[in-house]
Each structure stands twice: as structure tokens, then as C-alpha cells.
């Protein structure tokens, strides 16, 4: 990729700064990125960041609600988690028949944010998520490959009736798995995606819900899979939960001295 240094620094950091338990945060190099949601019609610049390699699972979320009972179903205020919050679990503290190693879904944005905070992390921002999800196993940006796009698109076409696959599938170039073909994912700024700081342009930018406006404000219009993800996020409020909506967390890369020697990253 264009910024080997980012990669390098991030990798070192990840190895140093991870807390002891399960969750694996891997470095994703930033850089200038052509987003489907450009800012002022320009590519965006994404700082390097660390991303949880896998979505948060039922088992991990179960541990979280036992540590922080205020996030248990029935205890959390409905303002922060809608009626179907964890509704698929057998009871407020156990998933029951739901497999422990599949992504947790039916979680609100507020609950997801609280979980990430408990790991010393935050939800990824849209542009971070989009950049990480642009990679396939070999390429940092596979979005121009029609075959890859078509494969991703398949998932969106099927109604949400089947059960979810276990996490850990389809690691991409950065080692991040399950970005496609499993769940929608919350992002930190899901609600501000369509508002620019320039109030004069808000009238145009905010109306993504109408087709004409969407055609005007969206870039990368041939990437239907990403557009559907954006449409879904724009349809949500922070308390909403869905059977197909989960999350993973991200961390900033703390300032660090430049690394001494290049390290080659292994890809599987």
C-alpha cells in the first residue's frame, strides 16, 4: 500500500498495547481514500487505526453484560436500546441456543459503544470501516473488481431468515474477517454521515433517502453493496436493533516514535 510506515508503526503498537484477553486488534494503514461518501466531493484522508479482527460475538457480549448488568435486557432504558434488544437470547444474561461464536446482533448503537468502551476502544468511523472493507485477501482496494463486488452483493439479496455463520471467515489483506457476507455493522458516526460542516450544503447532502439526491451525493455508484450498507445505516436510530446488525470496535493509534526497520506483514 502507499503507506508502509503506518502499517509498520501500527503493527508494533498493536502487539505492544493489546490487553491480555481474546480480542485481537490489527493495524489498518490509513491514507487518502476514495469513499462512496466523499467529503466536499474529495477523497477523504483516514488516519491509521487498529480494528478488531472479528465482530463481537455472543459469548463476548455475554461476558460484557455480566460485568455491566445495566446493559442487560430488561434493565437498559428503552431510550438506549429498543424493544428487540437481545430479544433472541434465551434470557437476559445467556444466549441459550444461539451459538456463542457467531456475531452478536440485536444490539443498539448505545450498547455497542458501551461494549467498545469496556475494551478501551470505540466504534470505527464509517470511513475507517469502508477503507478496511475495501480490501480482499490480496489487494488493499478490490472495489474495482466486478467479480468481488458481485460476490459481496449476493449477501444483500437474500432475506434475513437464516442463521449467522461463526466469526473468522474471509480474512482480508489486513487480517480483518467477516467484513462482508455476515452482518451489518454499527459505526460511530452512522448518524452524521450525511451532514457536512458547511451548513449551506446541508440541504443537498442530507436527503440521501430520496433517489435523486442519492444519485447526486454518492460517489462510487456502481458499488451497490456499499450503497446498501449506507442506506441501512441512514435508516437507523441509535436505539434500534436488528437481527442482522452487529459491530466490532476500533482504536486510535497512539503517537509513536518512528520504527527502525521494516517488518513484513504475513498474510494468509
Amino acid at each position: 500500500m502507499r503507506h508502509p510506515l503506518y502499517l509498520l508503526g501500527g503493527l508494533l503498537l498493536a502487539l505492544i498495547s493489546l490487553p491480555g484477553h481474546g480480542a485481537d486488534y490489527l493495524p489498518v494503514p490509513g491514507g487518502r481514500f476514495r469513499s462512496a461518501l466523499p467529503v466536499d466531493d474529495k477523497p477523504v484522508t483516514v488516519a491509521p487505526f487498529l480494528l478488531r479482527s472479528q465482530p463481537v460475538t455472543n459469548a463476548e457480549f455475554q461476558a460484557f453484560v455480566s460485568r455491566q448488568p445495566q446493559w442487560q435486557r430488561g434493565k437498559v432504558p428503552s431510550l438506549l436500546a429498543g424493544g428487540s434488544y437481545l430479544s433472541h437470547w434465551a434470557d437476559p444474561v445467556r444466549p441459550g441456543d444461539i451459538a456463542p461464536n457467531i456475531p452478536v446482533t440485536h444490539v443498539s448503537w448505545f450498547a455497542a459503544s458501551a461494549f467498545c468502551e469496556s475494551e478501551g476502544a470505540r466504534l470505527p468511523r464509517w470511513h475507517e470501516w469502508e477503507l478496511a472493507a475495501a480490501a480482499d485477501a490480496q489487494r488493499a482496494d478490490a472495489r474495482q473488481d466486478p467479480a468481488w463486488r458481485a460476490r459481496i452483493l449476493r449477501w444483500y439479496e437474500r432475506p434475513a431468515t437464516g442463521s449467522l455463520p461463526p466469526v473468522g471467515r474471509d480474512a482480508n489483506l489486513w487480517g480483518i474477517t467477516d467484513l462482508h457476507g455476515a452482518i451489518y455493522e454499527w459505526v460511530e458516526d452512522f448518524n452524521g454521515l450525511f451532514v457536512t460542516v458547511d451548513s449551506r450544503s446541508q440541504g443537498e447532502q442530507k436527503t440521501l433517502e430520496t433517489c435523486g439526491a442519492a444519485a447526486l451525493s454518492l460517489d462510487d455508484r456502481e458499488n451497490y453493496a456499499i450503497l446498501m450498507r449506507i442506506a441501512m445505516l441512514s435508516a437507523l436510530a441509535g436505539r434500534d436493533t436488528l437481527s442482522t446488525l452487529g459491530f466490532r470496535c476500533a482504536r486510535d493509534v497512539p503517537a509513536t516514535p518512528p520504527a527502525a526497520a521494516p517488518i513484513k506483514r504475513e498474510t494468509s
Binding site: 458481485a150 452483493l153 449477501w155 432475506p159 450525511f194 433517502e209 442519492a214 435508516a235 436510530a237 441509535g238
Partner: protein, 479 residues
Amino acid sequence: MKNLLKVTAVATLTALASLTVSGAVNSQKAPAAVKAENLPVIHQTLVAPPALPPQITRKTPARVVVELTIEEVEREIAQGSTYTFWTFGGTVPGKMIRVREGDTVELHIKNLASSKLPHNIDLHSVTGPGGGAPQTLLAPGQEGVFSFKALDPGLYVYHCATAPVGMHVANGMYGMIMVEPKEGMSKVDREYYVMQGDFYTTSGYRAGGLQPFDMQKAIDEKPTYVVFNGADRALTGKNALKANAGEKVRIFFGVGGPNLTSSFHVIGAIFDKVYFEGGSRYQEHVQTTLVPAGGSAIVEFVPKVPGNLTLVDHSLTRAFNKGAVGLLAVTGPDRPDIYSKGIIKASSAAATLPAHGEEGGNAEPPPHDKAPSHNIGQAVFEKNCVACHQANGQGVPGVFPPVANSDFMQKNPEEAARIVLGGRAGEITVNGIKYNSVMPPQDLSDNEVAEVLNYINVKYNNGKPVLTPEQVKKLRATK
């Protein structure tokens, strides 16, 4: 008034959660404040196309409450081929809404929890930005309410406007709303609701199995299917539209698209009136009317003689190769003064292979009833087979397989009959050469199928008659 719900929802969420909400519809129920006007409330029951709600007899405005459920469903796009449709009300096109000019429409929309995608609705009958789309963007499991005043009469398309909108529409998310003028519509005997749509699949026309959406074909505007009411043959066979001769028929015709316009035509009828573009004025004595994507027309005509009238997009390869065909079956007494039986005979008694296009000679007496058996087979062959398999059954190398001197015909007469009955798509090997084309099912009687195959076997394969109508009947039952 129009934005009351949205404003309330946004205000609630913003105040309580310090979030800006971008067009989201609150899943809570509509506030009672929407009942500001003192109009009688009417709940409209929606029905599956080609049916539609009855004509409106009301002379005063009302508040019409409509409930529409958004469902993603897998069902047949052609016999043996399925597709994942996204629908309003579980049907393609979406169920028709019918109101009167000046009515207030209160739309309750629900997106089923089993949906994978968010959806919304943009009604062309709405005056205001987005046509209702911003107010109705619903994630799976959410429901919302949107009301608008039907200011202008006409036949309007509605559709989903969620990005990528082309794909939502390509998957069947369109329907129509009829806003009747204040003075009402003239009385007719039959009303039908038909919409044309183009569908894009990775595999070919009638390829079988679940056919996935093909994004590139959609962008290139190269549809696999162009069909009426959401499926190949949705309006044929037992699903054909019906009328009696002399009845006044009105078709509410629309094009969902997403891309193609329709040259809408009914073979064997002349439209007495066409309310072109779904508006208030009409043209008279129309053969074919052009209907844009996202547009409509109301056509009225009176079939006068019995038989099948065929609805087509007169961009004809769509009709004959992609499915844009429907039938209106008309019953009633013959009217030879309007429509004679016609007479066709060979111009020379010795001719063995008369070509098409010879003069019929209308003044000739009718032919004898009992023609020798092989003549039925020959007639069927010339009418149905020669266009592709050629006049002497030799086929077109690499395109249409031969039926003359054909190992396939000689070895598999029953399979040949199955193909005639049910059509066939995909690879087939004849005389050692591979063909990969499509043959549509032939609309023939058991006797005609037996006759034509026997004719081919005797005349072109030095064989004997091999099939009886009874055998064909059995094959038809088991196909």
C-alpha cells in the same frame, strides 16, 4: 401537517438522545395530532394484481388509511426459475391504491423484520420533496406513517427510493396509485392492473434455479426478462385476463422499469381511448401507446369477437424472447361480419412445401373438414417450426438444431415431445454438434403435438409415426 410525524420523531430523538436523525421514521405509533382534519376515515383493502380496488362512488373527500407491508420474497420469475423479489404488499407490481382527488391519504408502511434491507416509498402522486421517501425510510422491523393530500388526479407510479434505487426497482419495488378525478371515472365492465418491468439476472431467460440479480446487466440496461406483473407468463393460461365480447375493458398500465419504456400494444384490439401518460386527456383510436419508465397510461377498449387478445411490448424481441406477453381471453359469439375465419390454401396442388405469404383468396369456399392426417402435422410444422428449424427441417448450423435427419429426433421422440410442450433452454447435442439456445413452449393441443412429431419423423427422418395424442397427454401431465 405533512411533516408533522417526521418533525415529532426527530424532535423526540434529538432532545432525548442528542442525536441528529437523518430521515429516520420512529418506530413508535403516529401521534394523535395527525387527525387534524375532520374527514371521514376509510380503510382501504388492497388486493393482488391484476385486481384493484373498485371504482370510487364517493362525492366528498375522505381520509383514506392504507396499510402496505414491505416483503422480500423468493418466488418464480419463470417456470422452474426463481428470483428474490423485493415487494410492496408481497406482489409485483405492488398492490394498487385508489383514492379520490382531494382525499388525504394516510399510509402505514411496515418493513418486515425478515427483510435484509431498509426500504421506503416515493409516490409520484405526492406534492413535495422526495414524494414521501424521506419520511418512510424504514429499517427491517420498523413501521412508519406518512400522510399526504392527493392534489392532482391521475394514475401515478410509486416505488422504493432507497439507494441503490435502480436495484430496489429492478427487484420489483414499484406499484401504482390511482387518484380519480373529483367527477369520477366512467363506468366500465372490467378493470385490470398491469405493470411492465425489466429484470436482470446472471443466468439467462428461463435458465432454471434461483437466478441472482446481475448488477452489471442492470447498469448496461440489458435485461434478461421483460415481463408483465412480475413474472414470465403471469398473465397467460389460467391467469389470463378475462372479458366477454362487447364489454368495456379498462387497463391501468404502468411501467416500473427500472430502465425500459414500453410500446404497449394489444394484438387484435384498438384502444378506443388512451389517457396518455396517466393524465386527464385522452387520444382516440390508438394502436400502440408509449409508456415511460416511472409512467403510466389508462387504456379503454371493447373486445368484440371471441379469442385471445395478446398484450405485448411492441418492442418485439422483449415480447417473444424476454416474456413481455399477456393474454386477455374473450368469450362470446362469432362475428364474421367484423372478423372472418379466413381461408388459406396452397397455390398449387402439387406444391409439397408451400412458402408463407401466399395469397389467401378470401372469396374461396371453406376447405373440407377432414384433411389427411399428415396435413395437420405439416400445417403445424409450417406454422410453428420452420421459423427456426427451417423449411426442410435442416436447422441453422450452430444456432437451431436440425429436426430432419436428426439423431435426436430419431432416438428420443418422447423427449422431443417434452421439449415441444415445455420448451427448453441450454446445451443440447444433435448429430454430434452442440447447440445452446432457447426454444419456448409451444401452445399446441395433444393431437397437434403428436401430428407434428409424426410428420417430422415420417417426412424428414424416414421413420414411422411414433406418438399418439394419448401419449402426449400423459407427457403433458408429467412434465
